[in-house]
Homo-oligomer: 424 residues x 2
């Protein structure tokens, strides 16, 4: 088993070691929840001060042009595009992941109604995974309820998705990396299966973007959405992003309401103040209202921290951290009731490692009391996010040791059993 000194040596040799210094992490904390809320980049405070004091305070309304606020959703979107295998003009930062999912689901259904693929007209089924992140399922439920007319959400288990795609499937909607287990879908394979069956594929990259390489265009993915506040370090509730393949932007160009959340920031000429909606012939059509510039500026800084390290290098480190964590926990906690809940194969896993324990909630409370911050997910999951930008090998060692102590000493029994809400 790895000794702590070996971890210290691994960290000293880590090509990404300098990047941790770009984050303001509190003393005495091992932070393994960057998959829920990314850590604070040191540069964020100064950037926000500049935006607030100079751009807003002095520039006032003029800053929409002079400080190029108007371009910020696209500028940050183009940066994120580099992390997800998309072209810069295919991504815009706007609204939340939930809202962006509503937009692309509606667009996918509209595409299917306009250009039915294969022999079957009237594809009206959204196919997803039963264990998908709930808000994705809620969005699909809200949309199918609104559309009626046979639209439905069909849910199957993680491993059944590919085989469940049939000639009634309009769109396959999946989260690439499962929020609860870290299990990763085969993005290219499922997209291909969907296309072969005449369906479209939408990917939620909430637990992928910034943590591992994603190749949307190489896989011919149709649409994607993702989150700014996890591995992109954009701050609590940061704006989300939305991707539409260039071919769909073209095919939808004559459909003004292909994306039904029509707002002035998605208009072809918002400042002409026309009474009739005419969408921008670009990814801008997925924008709706006026975006928060403070939130976008913070996200911009966060995305830069990922770009500076490079997503291939981040993935390599994440895989090494995860392998080590699994090995350490399993070696130190044998017989203590804990069981790996994530796939063991790194190719089938995102950047988090999860374990099951019958008292997972109380175990996590005891870990947090010790300064090891992961999170609990119903019903019995201990979730540890290994954000490779700032998590070190020594953090993984310390976390595994803490898990072992909490279990061996049954510290979780002393933890008061009070459900506290946490945010994924």
């Amino acid at each position: 088993m790895t000794a702590r000194a070996e971890c210290v040596a691994l960290d000293a040799a880590d090509p990404l070691r300098a990047h941790r210094a770009a984050f303001a992490l509190p003393d005495g904390v091992v932070y393994l929840d960057g998959n829920s809320l990314g850590a604070l980049p040191r540069a964020t405070g100064a950037r926000l001060r500049e935006v607030i004091e100079r751009e807003w305070g002095v520039g006032l309304i003029r800053s929409w042009n002079d400080a190029r606020w108007i371009e910020l959703p696209r500028r940050v979107g183009a940066k994120i595009a580099r992390l997800i295998g998309a072209d810069g003009h295919e991504v815009v930062c706007t609204d939340s992941t939930s809202l962006n999912l509503f937009k692309v689901l509606a667009a996918a259904l509209r595409l299917q109604s306009l250009h039915p693929r294969g022999s079957t007209a009237g594809r009206r089924v959204i196919l997803s995974e039963r264990g998908n992140f709930p808000t994705d399922l809620y969005v699909a439920q809200g949309l199918t309820d609104l559309l009626g007319a046979g639209h439905e959400l069909r849910l199957v288990d993680f491993d059944e998705v590919a085989d469940a795609i049939d000639d009634r499937t309009a769109v396959v909607m999946l989260t690439h990396v499962n929020f609860r287990t870290g299990a990763m879908h085969d993005l290219a394979g499922i997209t291909r299966r969907a296309h072969d069956a005449g369906a479209l594929a939408i990917w939620d990259l909430a637990h992928s973007a910034g943590a591992l390489p994603v190749a949307l265009n190489a896989a011919s993915a149709d649409f994607a959405v993702g989150c700014g506040y996890k591995y992109l370090n954009g701050g609590p509730g940061a704006p989300a992003f939305v991707f539409a393949a260039a071919r769909h932007l073209t095919s939808l160009v004559h459909e003004p309401f292909a994306q039904p959340l029509a707002g002035w920031f998605g208009h072809r000429t918002p400042f002409a103040f026309d009474a009739g909606y005419a969408p921008a012939p670009s990814i801008d059509r997925f924008a709706v209202g006026t975006p928060s510039i403070l939130a976008l500026a913070a996200l911009d800084v966060g995305v830069d921290t990922v770009l500076a390290a490079g997503v291939e290098a981040l993935r390599a480190k994440s895989v090494a951290l995860a392998r080590q964590f699994v090995e350490l926990v399993e070696a130190q906690c044998a017989g203590l009731g804990i069981e790996l809940a994530s796939p063991r194969d790194p190719d089938r896993r995102g950047s988090q490692v999860c374990f099951r324990h019958p008292h997972a909630f109380a175990v996590m409370q005891a870990l947090i009391a010790r300064g090891v911050i992961g999170d609990f997910r119903e019903p019995d999951i201990l979730r540890f996010g290994l954000a490779p930008l700032y998590v070190r090998h020594v953090d993984v060692w310390d976390a595994a040791a803490a898990v072992a102590e909490v279990l061996a000493k049954r510290e979780w029994q002393r933890t008061e059993f009070q459900r506290r809400e946490a945010v994924t």
Copy 2:
């Protein structure tokens, strides 16, 4: 005509004079565009520093509970409720005005389909004003297109709305104060007319909230939305707010998708991660995805600046400023081609004063070059927002003098005629 010295004296006697010091306004600028982007409260920078460095940086994920981030949308909403005549539990801050309008329009149409009023079933017409702010019209167009089945948006002129309400009208959707002219609808009167005819009333308070008293519940308004970045001083693209009358929250409680943008922040128990959507039995059901805490914190500070002054006092000052501005411009610019475009009667006007001029765009460019910042609206409108928290009588005097000079010296002819985008 008022002399400048009289304005100085009026400012010295202004009961609100101390409130201007709460804003960081640049030197050499007369800022008459607070109806487009409110000025920066001095307290915003420190609050954001606290949120970023302590709450996010040190508290990390724990701050959703420990710093009460989770409550922020409702906490700020309850403050805004005090400005618009609503109860605290009827307002939440979330998303953009456009998105919130989509939610309440869909909810209003659903209510009409569930509980048809009067003798006519199947009310499917959204009635609005031709000159309404375009994004409101776009949202209605996007929704009626999505719903199909005879749903339509009907547009009439400003003064024709009340008489156009008929037994096909499902909902009357109006912006209380017109963005272009400042003309104010009779909120109570039109709401009563709508109800008498079996229709519902939705009010966009973008140019009202924080500038003048609004009495939603006294008027029995059904739904409302509004903007955080104008008179509420929440910063560029600040979150918007949404109001639903308590009776509708009750009547919709058994309709899970009454508001079709279903996301986990609108769920009854978001952290139980149920696969099925069950909306919160409260205004929270109008929330969708994770809200930006940075943006909400800035809005919180902005709303506090309004509450500190009191909206009745603000309105009284706004009316005085506007009367003076109209008088000064008309006296100094007689024969120079400028004409009042706002109602002369303060009871029929919001907190802005607009003039028409055939070369309005170039005139505004010349004014901005002189440090008098208003804005231009198509086709010929010079728009001056008189945000009473920080605009002084002497500012109004200086602005009027600048208008007179620009016109008398035909300075606008020298302005390069380059269209620059601006944001309402």
